[in-house]
Amino acid sequence: MSSDLRPLSLPPLMTERLPLGYRRILVSDDILDDEATKRLTFEHSKYRHVSTHVRRPLKPISKVEL
């Protein structure tokens, strides 16, 4: 078990077509608990680290009676 942080290896992620947002995740054996393992490998979709901003109007454009 190492306490040094090391970058997550990218080639396997790219092979799986995971977004490069995963690049910012650094892995240390010390902090790689069960939850973190699941986070990286099972539960989250490949879009987990993709940030999408959907703009919306601040006010209704019209007030239709529906």
């Binding site: 539960e43 989250h44 979709s45 879009y47 987990r48 993709v50 999408t52 901003h53 959907v54 703009r55 919306r56 109007p57 601040l58 006010k59 209704p60 454009i61 019209s62 007030k63 239709v64 009676e65 529906l66």
Partner: protein, 381 residues
């Protein structure tokens, strides 16, 4: 909260109403707009003068002026303000200036409406001219099958790469379309942030997640609203209900101080292709194919409607919701008076009560007037 102890510890302090919590006085009930948390709390207007006293008196001085009964009421009100985190005790008020109330936007037109019924419009020309005006939001409302899902896709494509950031659509249900067709048009056109399908066979909502799952999906989800109700014309607009009130924010609060919440920086193409401030308003500025939208917008006569402030509208000026209400200038309680309150508003600020506007005396007759007017020749000034 032990209010006696709180007060005893703060007698030499000022009560500071946070500068992003703005009191708005109404006739019977008044309100505090929490511009950061986006909520409105109301309270009896009898307490409103306290906010002026907070600025001139320290707490101890204030308490000395109250009778025993008033002091109990004051405890209750201060408890309300403290528990909602609207106020805090401070030594001095000077370091907490008011938030500037100026408002502006980096566009000549902020939003636009295109109505479609029996005829198609020149969408390419309209979108191009809206782009020139830096229009940010577009809504298309269709009352008939003339405007199809494929027209919507074409319109969304035209908007790509322009200033238009969001597109909303209200279209009639076509029995030939399945849920997947509606989902497909939303998922493939991210500019489409709202889709209402009227005249559907049942009321329901279809959630579109853009392919994301889990908590992140909440950030990007769009709901397609299917409703059995039928949208027949621009007469079906202008409804002001409690749920129509804006979630307060500093930009909208400031805008509604200076401008009309519905018409400011808006331009519309009605179902006949006429350019108006709002599709339901009587005044036409010409057919969209024979005029240029930027020329119309630059004219003072077009912009005059933008300045119909709630503070100058009868009844509304006494309403504590006036800076959260986007108003309606197309259908008025008194059609012959420009500063009349909206016909379809169900709130009475003098009794602090919401009712169905149709039940108000004279409302049915006024509505009939508007229905008849709609069939008159188009007014052109």
């Amino acid at each position: 909260m032990d209010m006696e102890k709180v007060l005893a510890d703060s007698l030499e302090k000022h009560v500071l109403l946070f500068t992003d919590c703005v009191p708005v006085e109404g006739h019977t009930a008044s309100a505090i707009y929490d511009l950061t948390r986006g909520r409105i709390s109301t309270f009896p207007s009898e307490y409103f003068p306290l906010f002026k006293l907070f600025r001139t008196h320290r707490l101890g001085q204030l308490l000395d002026t109250f009778s025993e009964d008033d002091r109990a009421n004051f405890h209750d009100f201060l408890g309300f303000l403290l528990s909602n985190e609207y106020v805090v005790f401070v030594d001095e008020l000077a370091p907490f200036p008011e938030i500037p109330s100026a408002w502006d936007a980096p566009c000549s037109i902020e939003n636009a409406i295109i109505d479609v019924n029996t005829q198609r419009h020149d969408y390419r020309k309209i979108v191009s001219e809206l782009d020139a005006l830096r229009c940010e939001h577009l809504q298309v409302r269709s009352y008939s099958p003339v405007f199809t899902v494929s027209d919507l896709i074409d319109l969304a494509r035209l908007c790509r790469g322009t200033s238009i950031q969001t597109l909303q659509a209200v279209i009639p249900h076509d029995p030939m379309n399945s849920d997947d067709d509606y989902v497909s048009v939303v998922t493939s056109n991210r500019i489409l942030v709202g889709l209402i399908v009227h005249s559907a066979s049942q009321d329901r909502r279809i959630r579109v997640d853009y392919g994301a799952q889990g908590t992140s999906a909440k950030l990007v989800a769009v709901e397609i609203e299917m409703t059995t109700k039928k949208l027949e014309s621009d007469l079906d607009c202008g409804s002001i209900t409690k749920k129509q009130l804006l979630r307060p924010s500093t930009p909208t609060f400031n805008e509604l101080h200076h401008f009309n919440g519905c018409l400011n920086r808006k331009i519309s193409i009605d179902e006949n292709g006429q350019v108006r401030n709002c599709p339901a308003m009587g005044r036409s500025f010409g057919h969209h194919q024979s005029v240029t939208l930027s020329d119309i917008v630059a004219g003072p006569s077009f912009q005059s409607a933008w300045r119909a402030r709630k503070d100058e509208i009868k009844v509304c000026q006494d309403c504590q919701y006036r800076y959260a209400c986007t108003d309606c200038r197309a259908f008025l309680e008194d059609p012959d008076s420009e500063d009349s309150k909206p016909l379809k508003c169900g709130y009475d600020p003098y009794t602090d009560s919401w009712t169905d506007w149709r039940g108000r005396p004279g409302a049915a007759a006024t509505w009939e007037t508007y229905r008849k007017r709609r069939h008159l020749p188009i007014l052109k000034y």
